[in-house]
Amino acid sequence: MTWKVGNLELKTPIIIASGTWGLGDTLLQYLTPQELTYAVGALVTKGLSLEPMSGNPPPRLMETPCGLINSIGLENPGIKTFLEDYYPRLRELKIPLIFNLHGNSEEEFIRLAEILREVGEEAIELNISCPNVKKGGISFSQSPEVVFELIRGVRKVFEGFIAVKLSPVGPVMETALACESAGADALTIANTYPALGIISYEPLRIIRGGLSGPAIKPLTLRLITEVSSRIKLPIIASGGVMSGKDVFDYLLMGASAVQIGTANLIDPWSPIKIYEEIKELLRSYGRLLDKGNT
């Protein structure tokens, strides 16, 4: 069985989400290559920028009921170092890699896409929705016209698969329409929800970040249902997947594949467990999906 997300073909509908498996250097301490290739259709890299980013000062995390607020701030070594030091081992896994990209401007996104084209990589996810950086990130999601231009620009230099990762807040539908008309291949819906948590009163410690985890799943499920009813682009779901049922819910409401994020932080084996569960559900309810997957 293969799973199609536009022109991207996956062996399973399970994708590991950006930022929830580090840079990949510790992944194989917890999962064997066999386990990974068995359960995982694709891996999305940590958000990568042109220059290294050291990320935000602590506190970067706070647990909330059934959720997590994170403010990592896209800590990453920059695309060059990533390609030199981390990529070779990941490539050996022979699991499709989707490069999550963070640019401060259209020019930076274009340059990142060019670099990936030069190494022969074929899939990118444009992160226009990170709530934790001062420049770029979520600010793109406020204006569909800017997103339209951005995708047109990237498309000129990159023929491969382009997914656009949307913020769940702001003009989501308009942005999705802009992605469609600008020639994106898929939408990832969605990134984390802008949130705030108070860690302590004295001293006052506040975290502003993005909320993820099972708490957000009903919100993102609703969003996907609405977007998929109006837009033809394939949708990759991301938000609070903890079980096979969560995956099936998203597939039923219009997603073509599903990302696992926070669940991975709880237990590195989550993708395998969830894959086993979704296989079971597909046997019972697969007929309810009308996706043209073979």
Partner: protein, 255 residues
């Protein structure tokens, strides 16, 4: 995460407990003192969402023990776990205590921060133990737990309580500072509340003693996946406590 059988969950004080888990041979071999594991309660609840990290307190004959203090909802849930039930564990996590310890060595524990030194003492040769002292402080006598166990290593056991109900009256750091006038240590490993660690770092500055601190903060993954558990490095940038620590050279980090 793997399932582990709870052999015993013994309350030691109102807030401190000793949890004994049965673990397989493979895990016993894989663990080194200073490393930690994360423990989840395997009943499918999403609150608390994340398994909690705990240092290995003791690891003997397939029995792994942790010494825990109840501070919030995760540790409250741990407290009521019954012998015969199962928890989920992911281990081993983090880096062991440094390999190049120079002796004489002082281990300084504040409260349940003392936990990891049990496993370290279990693994030190009797020769090395002769060159090791254990400093252990708490607010009152009843909070100094596992004393018989710590005595069994036959290392000098230096105790302090804030109210003076057992041992030296005052902070454990005061006792150490007093002793340092007559005794010499080449390495100190300390674990406990942040003010204690800050105080030690401050008072040992320029002493030539190598100071390691076992630190904690909230961890989501414990595996290096989320990049959330950072502390600023003195040289710029951040360390990831779960991957690079939890025990770090004091001079390399900003507290």
């Amino acid at each position: 995460m793997k399932k582990a059988l709870v052999i015993e969950n013994e309350p030691l004080t109102e807030r401190i407990g000793l949890l004994s888990l049965k673990v397989d041979q493979h895990l016993c071999m894989a663990f080194n003192p200073g490393q930690f594991l994360k423990i989840g309660l395997s009943d499918g609840r999403f609150d608390p969402l994340f398994p909690r990290p705990f240092t290995v307190h003791s690891l003997q004959k397939n029995t792994l023990r942790i010494l825990y203090q109840v501070v919030g909802k995760g540790t409250r849930a741990l407290r009521i776990i019954k012998a015969g039930s199962y928890v989920e564990v992911l281990a081993p996590l983090g880096q062991p205590y440094p390999k190049d310890i120079e002796f004489p060595l002082a281990l300084v524990g504040g409260g349940v921060g003392v936990a990891g030194f049990g496993f370290l003492l279990e693994r030190l040769s009797s020769q090395r133990r002769k060159e090791t002292a254990l400093y252990y402080g708490a607010s009152k006598r009843s909070d100094l737990v596992r004393l018989d166990y710590f005595k069994s290593f036959e290392v000098p056991l230096r105790l302090a309580t804030e109210d003076g109900s057992l041992g030296f009256k005052g902070y454990i750091t005061d006792l150490l500072e007093k002793d340092l006038k007559e005794r010499c240590f080449r390495t100190i490993i300390a674990c406990g509340p942040l003010p204690m660690l800050k105080r030690l770092k401050e008072s040992l500055k320029g002493s030539g003693i190598k100071l390691y601190l076992s630190l904690e903060n909230f961890m989501a993954c414990g595996t290096g996946f989320c990049m959330g558990c950072v502390l600023p490095k003195r040289s710029g940038g951040y360390v990831h406590l779960c991957k690079d620590g939890p025990t770090l050279l004091a001079e390399e980090i900003e507290l």
